[in-house]
């Protein structure tokens, strides 16, 4: 039930936003709990944005992990 999905804010009006889950259909989401800005990603759970998605962090984390794993691989070999 704690399923939550990232979506991009397309339109913003007060505490209500239209977001895109990547499937082309826009859905209404309540953004009271986050500092929403158009173009940013939010994590949506049951019609509410519950947290901002740190896009930069996501990409950096992946790159960092790949680096760590490769570095350890070299150490091992």
């Amino acid at each position: 039930m704690c399923l939550a999905i990232p979506a991009r804010i397309v339109h913003l009006e007060g505490n209500s936003a239209k977001v895109d889950f990547g499937e082309g259909v826009l859905r209404d989401v309540n953004v009271t709990l986050v500092d929403a800005k158009i173009g940013t990603y939010v994590l949506v759970h049951a019609g509410y944005a519950i947290q901002m998605v740190d896009e930069k962090d996501a990409l950096e984390t992946l790159a960092l992990w790949k680096e760590i794993l490769e570095a350890e691989e070299k150490q091992d070999s």
Partner: protein, 360 residues
Amino acid sequence: MINKNEFRSPELARKIAQKIGKLAPKDEAVKFCHVCGTHEWTITHFGLRSFLPKNVEVIAGPGCPVCIVPAAEIDEAVQLAEEGVVVTCFGDLLRVPGSQMSLLEAKAAGADVRVVYSVSDAVEIAANERDKDFTFFAVGFETTAPSTAVEVLGKPPQNFSFLVSHRLIPPAMELLLGLGDLNISGFIAPGHVSAIIGLKPYELFPRVYRMPTVVAGFEPIDVLLGIYMLLKQSKEGVAKLENEYTRIVKWEGNPKALEAIHKAFEVIAGNWRGIGRLPDSALKLREKFENYDARQKFNVHVEKGKDILLGCECHLVIIGRINPNECPMFMKVCTPSNPVGACMVSSEGTCRVWAKTRAK
């Protein structure tokens, strides 16, 4: 844009699995416990257990908020429905067994029970149908409680109320440690509960219980990295609190959401199906909102219900003591189309997840 496939990359998954294989202890078994239905779904759906060495086990704790709603609280919802209050709830809740019947059975008998996607939908329906009383059966962990809180604080219409059954995760994790004989070597903490509460509530696990704890996300790579980080701690002989899910989980959580929860609710002891009463583990509307508290408004109070039917072993599945296929009813008497226990009902119940993906 974030491409979720990157977090599902088979190549990266294999690399991490190799690391896990190398890190795993040679002569002893380790058992990590997660407490989230979505983690169980990811692990089972993507077959992550098959990536792990035989002596590295991942078990599911009480991570399905629908499964742990006690029968007594289902009975309260059924009673409200029978008294003519329109009960709105998430779809998962419909078939959860009460002592006499589920909400779906109440609906079949003529009660007005409606499934909503969001609590805000329930409020909107109530505003449009002022001639009826509505209640929202508010179930869920810290991930879900903030949305209920926003609606409580948002002055809903007079014909609206809340039947609050929210529960808090950290007390359940502490209970698992108290059981002792589960022999857990580390926690995979739930990413979306943590999006709200942050990392601080988990501090006691490494500090007091010496229990490695890693907050992890829900893509396969997230979960594998979580396991990798826990094994690394085990190998180094340390117990730390770490965060794998940094793109979502911040140290402080979501302060706005926490403030909303605090304004709307007080923390009280609560009953958990299959577990019993846990101190400081449930939310109750604050006194100033008692006009919106369905239990007060309609004087509905069920103290005791029939949580576990004879032969059902949900109470052991919920705390991770047995796997679903160790229950004699699993896929024989108890199936997704005809569930006996709560763990088979919700799409995130451990039995249901196993039934859908690895029925044996």
